[in-house]
């Protein structure tokens, strides 16, 4: 690794750590950094601060880190797989699939047993199932279609189908259910309690672990599928593993936080720009750090006093200009 890369990695790590602390400290009730340390190391901290930090802000900050890194890593893998700078898990219809699952539970709730719905687990399970079904369909097509661009279009179509099914459901639902669903689509990092974290964390770790395991093959895919085959890479298997890993990362996060757009597209480009490399060995940890930092920043911004903004709105403010910049740069 070049010394320049080490310096950027160190700065990014410190930035992420600093933002993590800032995210814990910032909020409607400010908590000083010294107070944060005394809560963590159990040195007679204030009971209210302790409650706010441990049960609200800490899981939220960790969720921000997990969501930022997961969506970015999934985006990086998709961009490499499709050799398309604008590809990300949402284009493959993952978020639409998850939305469909969530919409079914929220708006067709009268058909389901009450206990199942009130536990909140119904939403999570439904979102993951919805995301997985769309992904499996895309994977199925990927065995038939050899062309990456065609697969991308098929993904968009599956997403559209899921999206229109959601609209159909909305037509037949009562206003309360629609409001609940619309709130979910805004995205929120605070929905993840410690109980949910026990599910989310292993899913994310497996996904990111798979991405690191695939890094050499991802490098090979940069040359295009035919060259990659010539280097001894099994394309079908690699494509399947990439889709599974991205599905776990993007599907899992979407289920818990609602769709958070633009992060998956934008962060890989920021990482490439910072490190000026195409090697996934460097880009993967770089996207983890950049993605975590970006969502922490977004979360800090959503905490402006008196109003709490939806995370999706804030991430779009960052992400959309980056996408415009990519398109202009490509011309």
């Amino acid at each position: 690794m070049k010394s320049r890369h080490v310096i950027i990695f160190l700065s990014l790590s410190f930035l992420t750590l600093g933002l993590f602390l800032a995210d814990l400290a910032w909020g409607s009730i400010p908590v000083s950094v010294r107070e944060i340390f005394s809560v963590f190391f159990g040195k007679g901290a204030d009971a209210i601060n302790s409650e706010i930090l441990l049960n609200f802000r800490l899981p939220k900050a960790i969720t921000a880190i997990l969501a930022g890194s997961s969506l970015s890593v999934a985006g990086l893998m998709m961009q490499t797989l499709f050799r398309n700078p604008l590809a990300d898990p949402f284009i493959l219809g993952v978020s639409s699939g998850a939305s469909l699952g969530v919409a079914i539970v929220m708006m067709a709730a009268t058909l389901l047993p009450v206990a199942f719905i009130s536990s909140g687990w119904a939403l999570i399970v439904a979102a993951i199932i919805g995301a997985s079904i769309v992904l499996l369909l895309v994977v199925g097509v990927s065995f038939k279609v050899n062309n990456a661009v065609t697969l991308l279009i098929v993904g968009i179509m599956f997403g559209s189908i899921a999206g229109s099914l959601v609209s159909v459901l909305q037509n037949f639902s009562n206003p309360d259910a629609i409001k609940l669903f619309v709130m979910w689509t805004f995205g929120s990092l605070s929905a993840v309690t410690w109980n949910y974290m026990q599910v989310l964390l292993p899913v994310v770790l497996i996904g990111i672990g798979m991405a690191f395991f695939l890094q050499k093959r991802l490098d090979g895919l940069l040359l295009g599928e035919n060259y990659a085959r010539g280097l001894g890479i099994s394309i079908q298997q690699t494509r399947f593993l990439i889709v599974i890993a991205s599905g776990l990362l993007a599907g899992g996060i979407t289920a818990f936080t609602g769709p958070i757009a633009f992060v998956g597209v934008a962060i890989p480009h920021i990482a490439r720009g910072l490190f000026r490399t195409s090697s996934h060995k460097i880009l993967l940890p770089a996207t983890v750090l950049c993605g975590a930092s970006l969502l922490l920043i977004c979360d800090i911004i959503t905490q402006i006093p008196t109003y709490t903004l939806p995370i999706n709105t804030v991430s779009a403010l960052f992400g959309a200009p980056i996408i415009i910049w990519i398109i202009l740069k490509r011309k």
Binding site: K216, L223, N226, Y227, G230, G232, F275, S278, K281
Partner: protein
């Protein structure tokens, strides 16, 4: 020594039970240390054959063996240790240096994490030197010209250190100096490294000069193999590229056009200028015969017709049209 051979190989496409045979019953042999050029008209199946030989596409029947092993039975990874590819696919990797691209050739040898060993570094720098691009090793790919890019991809194939290298149209999109350079480079590499190099090309004259052996592919006519000169003597090229508007000129290894001949002249004189004079006359539609009414004498610095000195080809052709009765009936 034969390193790759095919037995009754039939290539083509099969879709929904319908088979489209491109070439059938091919028995080919590729030898170590030889540059083989695959030539044929468009649509004869050059790319299909290459893709089938390297296993990017399934054969319809028959088999391909490398070192006696059937390629249908060996894994993708083993294949990567036997054949390296240079394809027509455009490689556009953001932020990748020349060295990064060439290092891809070492992929089949490295562990899952992709750490490079001293051997890898050595092979990469040797490959860079062999294609004479070591000075640009740290340049980004998008800073290179098309010819340099092609050399980088060849270096990648060399770094892969396989006994066979296959190249699909490596000289397409290149200007003449680069085309000649790439062909010479491949010829030298085949002899120096004792690799078997197979490439498809449209450049008949270049192939005739550089190839140790030609695989000539006709539409629905199978593949003829042989040393280039033998194939010139036995008229293979004329049979394969049969046409009314041009013919294979065995005198210079080029295709010449069949111009409609409308006038007759005789020509004699200076040798170098004679060649170009004949070309100009052919294009303008004058057949050169022994004893014509109009006689042209080619001199050191001009031409003479009936003691009139002419200094340029343009004037010469203008004078000739006035002197020789040309049949200008419409329809010719």
């Amino acid at each position: 020594m034969s390193i790759l051979s095919t037995q009754n190989l039939t290539i083509g496409y099969s879709k929904k039970g319908k088979t489209d045979v491109v070439q059938s019953d091919l028995n080919l042999e590729l030898r170590a240390g030889e540059l083989v050029c695959l030539i044929g008209p468009n649509g004869s199946g050059k790319s299909t054959l290459l893709r089938t030989l390297v296993g990017l596409q399934k054969s319809l029947s028959g088999k391909t063996a490398i070192d006696g092993k059937n390629i249908a039975g060996i894994s993708q990874h083993e294949k990567a240790l036997l054949i390296s590819l240079v394809l027509t696919d455009r490689v556009d990797v953001e932020n990748a240096t020349v060295k990064d691209i060439v290092s891809f050739g070492r992929h089949p040898y490295s562990n899952w994490w992709g750490n490079s060993t001293e051997e890898d570094d050595k092979q990469v720098s040797e490959a860079l030197e062999m294609v004479h691009i070591q000075k640009k090793a740290n340049h980004y790919l998008n800073e290179l010209s098309d010819g340099e890019r092609q050399r980088v991809m060849i270096a990648k194939a060399l770094a892969q250190d396989t006994p066979i290298i296959m190249l699909d149209e490596p000289t397409a999109h290149l200007d003449l100096p680069n085309r000649v350079e790439i062909m010479l480079l491949l010829h030298k590499l085949a002899h120096k490294t004792q690799k078997a190099i197979l490439l498809s090309t449209h450049e008949l004259d270049l192939a005739l000069q550089a190839a140790d052996r030609i695989w000539l592919m006709g539409t629905d006519a199978g593949v003829e193999c042989g040393v280039p000169e033998d194939m010139v003597f036995n008229g293979s090229f004329n049979r394969t590229f049969e046409s009314r508007s041009y013919f294979f000129n065995a005198a210079n290894g080029n295709f010449s056009m069949n111009y409609p001949m409308t006038g007759k002249v005789s020509v004699s004189g200076n040798k170098t200028r004679l060649y170009w004079t004949l070309r100009a006359l052919a294009r303008a539609g004058f057949e050169v015969v022994e004893n014509a009414d109009v006689r042209i004498l080619v001199t050191e610095n001009g031409w003479q017709i009936d003691n009139k000195t002419i200094s340029s080809v343009e004037e010469l052709l203008l004078d000739l049209t006035q002197l020789v009765m040309i049949d200008t009936t419409p329809g010719i």
